[in-house]
Amino acid sequence: MTTTTDLQQEILNVTTAIPGVATVYPAAPAAQTILENVVSVITQQPAPLPISITETDGGIAVALTIGAATNTPAADLCRLVYDTLVDHFRQNSQPVASIRILIANIE
């Protein structure tokens, strides 16, 4: 059985392998992310992954925030990340309700 963490890691791996994706930013607000990272150090548990996944009746809803490399057209990259993730889920017979991709920086 695939856990949410496995799925988050899977999405992270697929996304970061796409040329032009420079960063995947935390989905949660910065302060919450820091707190979670501090807790993970104290408890020696893995830090939360920067991908938001919600189970819905129509499948999973995925949200991620990325930084694009400056040499890659950002809007095209956004579409490419979406298409790549959709293909990945299709190959794994994973129903998808929506995928939200936000470009928050071009670096």
Binding site: Y25, P73, R79, S98, R100, L102, A104, N105
Partner: protein, 210 residues
């Protein structure tokens, strides 16, 4: 850069912006400036994982590069770099680095919710300013409904220009650079780019032509 300001003096908008942690994911521009001065070490995850902070840091680096050039050039001619000029630019960096509105990226699949932040686009406009010698982008504004795909948007930019640089030529080059970078990276429909040159700085900055 007004740290020596007398305590009894009223704080300006720029001062307040620099010290307001609500502006940049809980950080102030002063904190980001210190982080930059320290070579981004030790690493601060709350800064490194914040897109707004990263945009602001890039803008600060750009400003400091220009400021260094200005200070070198002015050392032999004028006593001080105009602090209000720097403070004004800092104020704009802080405001423009915030994520702002969400600008849609089109896709035929209705399950796709794709977007770019307004802060990212303002960062692109600032980067376009780097392509024009002798010019520094101050304030940048996106006028129009950026949240509706295809809606016409006007980019309004205030800029500072090196003394002796042709204003019409520099404005044309900046306009072309902004058009180019926004067409490359976004789906925005650019109806116009309005450029206001509102300041003149030392001629040596960024190797400006005369």
């Amino acid at each position: 850069m007004n740290d020596s300001q007398n305590d009894s003096e009223p704080a300006t908008d720029a001062d307040r912006t620099r010290r307001d942690p609500a502006e940049l994911d809980g950080h102030t521009l002063d904190e980001l400036s210190d982080y930059l001065d320290a070579g981004r070490a030790p690493a601060d995850a709350s800064i490194d994982s914040s897109p707004s902070c990263q945009i602001a840091l890039t803008s600060l680096e750009r400003l400091y590069r220009l400021s260094d050039t200005l200070l070198e050039a002015q050392a032999s001619t004028e006593p001080d770099l105009d602090e209000s000029w720097v403070a004004g630019i800092l104020h704009n960096i802080s405001r423009d680095s915030r994520a702002g509105r969400t600008i849609p990226v089109t896709h035929p699949d209705p399950a796709a919710e794709l977007a770019i932040t307004e802060g990212t686009v303002r960062g692109l406009v600032r980067a376009a300013g780097d392509m024009v010698e002798g010019l520094l982008v101050g304030r940048c504004r996106l006028d129009g409904d950026v949240t509706t795909p295809g809606a016409p948007i006007t980019i309004s930019v205030d800029a500072s220009i090196g003394w002796g640089t042709s204003i019409p030529d520099a404005a044309d080059r900046l306009r072309e650079a902004i058009y180019g970078i926004l067409i490359r990276h976004t789906d925005l429909t650019i109806a116009g780019v309005d450029i206001t040159v509102d300041d003149v700085h030392n001629p040596a900055a960024k190797g400006s032509s005369r």
